[in-house]
């Protein structure tokens, strides 16, 4: 072991806004598990059950986890809806009827529906299932469209985590020494970074919030968890027998890293990344609450929540309740899927 002890990943920056202090605890829990679990994986590799077998087995185990499977189904439904429905709805999310604002949700009326063959039937119908907002815009269209931003921020920022954190973590773990030390100290700086100040600075520098700004800020300040996890994996794996063997056979560093170490360190990264996405989505919402969200008319769950807080006391609770429900449901599903993946990849830990 290097002179840096393995310690729980410092729960980090998402807790800056108190939005997800506890998602961080989960991530830390994750690190704790995998500090030990990584050694198991080494054993698995040396025993050489084929890699395909391992992943196939994992999928089977995941599908046996009913809650996780159901969550994944819901999540996929949300993602597909967010991707497809706005295409058909076009500009519905921005079409205003501002002289008739605050349409109540779930208002059904009878509607004559023409059927082929000259027939017609009367069905219950609603123009705006989830009501309309303060400018008379369809709340459901906005909610669905808003999911795009939230999910895009969550996934893209996580991609950023994996690229930055994965790379730096791998370098530090593989080469150790001063590179490792420098990385760990950089991590300390990042943790102490005043998140909201960075948001204000970057926002002002870019002339306003945009998807790029959100992703950039979150990725630049949040990668260190993945980084530490990756480093921990590399620390253990580079000393493992199969890596030693590869090295003795004269394999290059690149080959060792990508052929031998990376595939074996994926499991905990996948779990941590999944859980991290829910943290990022909650963070986007918290930033929206503080007034740092995508500019109108584009909706995001964050700015939907922040715009209509005052509606809570005016009898338009639905304008806050729907985005809140969407947000909590998505975050919950992601967390449960992450939990399922963990169990699937690491049955020892149930």
């Amino acid at each position: 072991m290097a002179d840096q002890p393995l310690k729980p990943v410092t729960a980090g920056f998402q807790s800056m806004l108190g939005a997800t202090a506890t998602a961080q605890a989960l991530a830390a829990e994750e690190a704790l598990r995998h500090a030990a679990a990584a050694e198991d994986l080494v054993v698995a590799e040396v025993a050489e059950p084929s890699e395909i077998g391992f992943w196939k087995l994992a999928v089977i185990r995941f599908l046996h986890h009913r809650i996780a499977t159901a969550s994944l189904a819901i999540l996929l439904f949300i993602i597909v809806t967010a991707m497809i429905v706005p295409v058909f709805q076009g500009n519905l999310f921005r079409q205003q009827d501002y002289t008739h604002p605050y349409g109540a949700p779930f208002q059904f009326h009878s509607q004559q529906l023409a059927l082929p063959g000259g027939l017609s039937i009367t069905v219950p119908w609603t123009d705006h299932l989830l009501g309309t907002d303060g400018l008379g815009r369809d709340e459901m269209a906005r909610l669905i469209r808003g999911a795009r931003v939230s999910l895009a921020v969550g996934l893209l920022a996580m991609l950023g985590y994996i690229i930055i954190g994965g790379m730096l973590g791998a370098l530090a773990g593989y080469y150790g020494g001063w590179i490792d030390n420098a990385l760990m100290r950089l991590t300390d700086v990042i943790i102490a970074m005043p998140f909201i100040l960075v948001v204000v600075a970057v926002t002002a520098a870019f002339g306003g919030v945009s998807l790029t700004v959100l992703v950039l800020v979150i990725a630049l300040l949040g990668w260190f968890e993945i980084g530490r996890l990756m480093r921990a994996q590399f620390l253990v794996l580079r000393e493992s027998e199969f890596v030693q063997a590869a090295r003795a056979l004269g394999a290059s560093d690149l080959r060792i890293i990508f052929r031998h170490i990376v595939p074996n360190s994926l499991a905990p990264i996948i779990v941590s990344a999944t859980l991290g996405v829910s943290g990022i989505i909650l963070l986007e919402a918290a930033l929206g609450f503080l007034g740092y969200s995508i500019p109108p008319p584009e909706p995001s769950w964050g700015n939907l929540l922040s715009t209509y807080q005052e509606a809570l006391l005016m009898g338009q609770v639905y304008l806050v309740a729907f985005p809140a429900i969407a947000l909590v449901t998505t975050a919950l599903c992601i967390n449960l899927v992450g939990d399922g993946i963990r169990d699937a990849l690491d049955p020892r830990q149930r």
């Binding site: 921005r94 079409q95 205003q96 501002y98 002289t99 604002p101 303060g134 400018l135 008379g136 204000v200 926002t203 002002a204 002339g207 306003g208 919030v209 609450f289 503080l290 007034g291 740092y292 500019p295 109108p296 008319p297 922040s306 715009t307 807080q309 005052e310 509606a311 809570l312 006391l313 005016m314």
Partner: protein, 563 residues
């Protein structure tokens, strides 16, 4: 001097965003009860308790009960004497103003309030070395020192270089501070003086007791107050950053007064028994400020330099319904910069544009803008596309911008709502490199709009600190504004009539050329619970009760249930 400038340094709206207010019929008892504690809301901690340093609203509210004014606003926003004894007299050349002071007035240390205090206060304010964020403008005086003198203990003489009509409302309706304290401080070091957190000698109806930073400021009644001992024994100014909680606190009876309930929330608790809510148009207003120059300062062709384009903008919108939606019914639509709360308001002088989309389109055609393939207009290869700047911390303003940008798309304008951090907001605007922005303006008791529309205040060309962002130059407008400022007549009534005519001329030019597109004045709510003796003026107005415009109210109010 507290000029009633609604300039807020701290923009925390994004944290405590919701507001509620209360309204209803609370029975007012006729017999006045003595004693008790009045608690009122300030939405951020005061920055200073030194009146020379006050530049923000919470501090203005906090300081208000502690210092006397020379003149003050009555319930109808007319200027009446506070510390002064009668209205000022003006010399026959209309350039020398003489103010008599009350003889019975005393500071809290027992010494008399004299002409020397007034002179010292003015000289500090007029001192160019004074380090402050507050905005004092004593430029009308012949000299910052000799322009104001004490003729005797109770007479102050102001000598002006020219006739200046707003002098009474703008310059004389400010606070007076004790020379014995503030005269000893080097004006250049005023900003960091220890008295800022702890006013020692004051003369208002209430005296400083203690300040728990971030939480509250406590004041006690001044038994020797010259306008009569206050009925209330104690005032607590409570910092409540969450505006929803603040209004709800009035309903709950945890506080007695919320001086500022704005926006959608006003209606929420309007029918709560025991809570009195007054709703009236504010003195400030909002408008869309165009870049009226033919070109930006950096040379880019300006979209709104052509008056036809600005008229098309005005014809494309239905102001009444838009304002109603943006403010949830709590704004008064405006067609000029004189707000309905002002005595100078004259609806007939304004130019109104009734929504007429066909006319708007033909005006755009006339201006040479043809509709492009994507529905957005084009001229000489330039798309009619602009950033519509708005402060990111103001939800109502953003809503208005959203509505306008949707409506104007119909006539081929692509205006992208651009909520901007308020520290960055002013940068392109002050540099003259923008197309349009939604701005908010405060007015003092006097509607003088010299600094906002006179061409000598155009920034950056004519004035490095000017607040005229439009770049609009019109000799007639300048002449009308100059006239409004210099039209001082021997009698107050004659002055008023002359100025009202001048303001009408200004309103007409502003409206006809759509120099800016006026939006609305907030209908501010003021909610009381358990406070007696509150008197509303014209239009239900309580404007005079806020920001130190009338310190005497604190001695006339009483509590219905003093504990």
């Amino acid at each position: 001097m507290q000029l009633g400038v609604r300039f807020r340094a701290i923009a925390l709206a994004s944290v405590g965003l919701f507001v509620i207010a209360a309204c209803g019929g609370g029975g007012e008892s006729t017999n006045v009860k003595e004693g008790g504690t009045l608690t009122f809301v300030i939405d951020a901690d005061a920055q200073t308790l030194n009146p020379f340093e006050v530049g923000d609203l919470p501090s203005a509210r906090a300081v208000a009960p502690m210092f006397p004014n020379l003149y003050m606003a009555d319930k109808n926003l007319s200027i009446v004497p506070d510390l002064a004894d009668g209205m000022p007299t003006v010399s026959s050349d209309l350039k020398t103003w003489t103010v008599k002071l009350r003889k019975n007035a005393k500071w809290s240390d027992g010494s008399a309030i004299t002409a020397n205090d007034v002179v010292t206060t003015v000289r500090i304010e007029a001192n160019s070395k004074l380090d402050t964020d507050a905005a004092f403008d004593w430029s009308p005086l012949t000299d910052p020192v000799n322009g104001v003198t004490a003729k005797d203990d109770n007479t102050v003489v102001f000598t002006l270089t020219s006739t200046f009509a707003p002098f009474l409302a703008v310059n004389l309706a400010g606070f007076v501070a004790p020379a014995s304290v503030y005269g000893q401080i080097d004006p250049a070091k005023m900003r960091n003086d220890p008295s800022n957190t702890k006013p020692t000698v004051t003369g208002g109806p209430f005296l400083f007791d203690k300040w728990i930073p971030g939480q509250q400021i406590e004041l006690v009644a001044n038994p020797n107050y010259y306008a009569g001992k206050p009925h209330i024994a104690k005032i607590i100014e409570k910092v409540i950053t969450n505006t929803t909680a603040a209004a709800q606190a009035v309903v709950n009876g945890d506080v007695n007064w919320d001086p500022e309930v704005v926006g959608a929330a006003v209606s929420t608790v309007q029918n709560v028994p025991g809570v009195n809510t007054y709703i009236y148009p504010d003195l400030g207003y909002y408008d869309v400020r165009f870049n009226d120059r033919p070109k930006w300062i950096n040379g880019q062709p300006s979209l709104f330099g052509d008056v036809n384009v600005r008229r098309a903008f005005a014809y494309a919108l239905d102001k009444d319904s838009m304002v109603k939606a943006a403010t949830d019914g709590h704004g008064t639509p405006l067609w000029g910069d004189i707000v309905p709360a002002s005595a100078y308001y004259d609806e007939s002088a304004t130019v109104k544009y009734k929504q007429d989309v066909a006319k708007a389109k033909s005006l755009m055609d006339a201006a040479g803008w043809t509709v492009g393939s994507d529905g957005i207009r084009v001229k000489n290869g330039q798309r009619f596309s602009a950033k519509f700047y708005v402060r990111a911390d103001k939800p109502q303003r953003i809503k208005a911008v959203e509505i306008m940008s949707e409506q104007l798309r119909a006539i081929g304008m692509d205006l992208q709502p651009t909520p901007t951090d308020f520290k960055v907001f002013y940068k392109p605007i002050q540099a003259g490199n923008f197309d349009l922005a939604l701005a908010g303006w405060g007015l003092a008791l006097d509607p003088d709009d010299y600094t906002i529309f006179h061409s000598s205040f155009i920034r950056p060309e004519n004035n490095s600190s000017g607040t005229n962002w439009t770049g609009y130059i019109n000799k007639d407008l300048d002449a009308a504004i100059d006239a409004e400022r210099s039209d001082l007549k021997p009698t107050a009534a004659a002055t008023f009539a002359a100025r009202k005519a001048d303001f009408a001329k200004i309103q007409h030019i502003l409206g006809d050329d759509v120099v800016v597109y006026f939006l609305w004045a907030d209908n501010t709510g003021m909610a009381f619970n358990g406070v007696n003796g509150v008197v509303a003026g014209n239009g239900n107005s309580l404007n005079y009760a806020d920001q130190g415009r009338n310190p005497q109210i604190f001695s006339t109010w009483s509590l219905s249930n003093p504990k």
